[in-house]
Symmetry: C2
Subunit: 191 residues, 2 copies
């Protein structure tokens, strides 16, 4: 998706010796809602013919993208929660996720009533790097006995192993911007 | 907002001896995007003439509502983050927030570059009860020296003190559904 690649080139910042791609000015801290809309349309172009009945994402950065995309699919959006709160009292699906960004392991959970065996689930998230978040969401879909339609991510760090590993299991993964390499000196190149 | 009140009556669940109003099937776990759109339109009807330049919310449940509303305002949406991640490296505004739902105290942060003194900020969140989250967001706006236009919340538990306390400081707070009382036996009544 050229629009997203151009925006990453223009406003993305590379930090941490070339390990962190910071897109907080438009994608996941401050949000350019018009850009989200174009992203939502693109996910619909890619997955709109696949009978999606639920969109599943993970808090926090995936929620806005999934909601905007959900307008095109006209299906409910579910976000997996990262901690047990007083607002969850039903039976839940859970999975463990190792976070690169936060450098910890956390449990995600989704109430069982929201994903049924007849559901066809599209996963949406902002980033794919090591694939830990998608792994957790795929576990939830599997536990529900639902059909995994695929995963739409905004930015894939294609030089990290998550995308290849998940695709090799037969999961359709569509990334709107695939980063081939990045460094603080030379910026970002895309696949 | 009758649509939201009716949905709470129909699908809301009261738990915890009448202290917890669970709306996870349509508002803050599974999301009815069409309902979010009506909520967004209503916030725009209420605040659309007030020169809003930024919408500020807090992760996680506020993000989707703020993004959908942001489409009507055509302004950037910022969500305050709840923990320090590798993706935040700039100067940040911070505030402490006591969570009722999670029974802990956490720090929220917003990168300083995203809110400037000339900004006119609308706060959006899903729930207002004790007002702790709004207090934190108001502190961020104050630290930025920006203008606080007001706060739009989906559900106010009007029998808890947050709304009255914040309004008494001169902040315009608009709640789309104001719960006067609730109990597991008799359900919800609205103001």
């Amino acid at each position: 998706m050229k629009l997203l690649e151009e925006r990453i080139r223009k406003d993305g910042k590379i930090r941490g010796g070339g390990t962190v791609l910071k897109v907080g000015s438009f994608l996941n801290h401050q949000i350019d809602v018009d850009l989200y809309n174009e992203i939502g349309k693109e996910f619909f172009r890619l997955f709109g013919q696949d009978g999606v009945t639920k969109i599943l994402t993970i808090e926090a950065s995936g929620i806005g993208i999934a909601c905007i995309a959900g307008q095109y699919f006209h299906v409910p959006v579910i976000f997996a929660k990262k901690s047990k709160t007083k607002n969850i009292d039903g039976e839940v699906y859970t999975a463990s996720v190792q976070s690169f960004t936060h450098a910890n392991i956390y449990t995600i959970m989704v109430e069982k009533e929201f994903i049924q065996p007849q559901d066809r689930v599209l996963l949406i998230d902002d980033f794919l790097a090591n694939g830990a978040a998608l792994d957790g969401l795929i576990q939830v879909v599997d536990q529900a006995g639902a059909t995994l339609v695929g995963a739409g991510v905004c930015v894939e760090k294609a030089f990290q192993p998550g995308g290849e590993r998940i695709r090799s299991r037969g999961v359709r993964v569509e990334a709107l911007a695939r980063v081939a390499s990045m460094s603080e000196e030379e910026g970002v190149t895309f696949c």
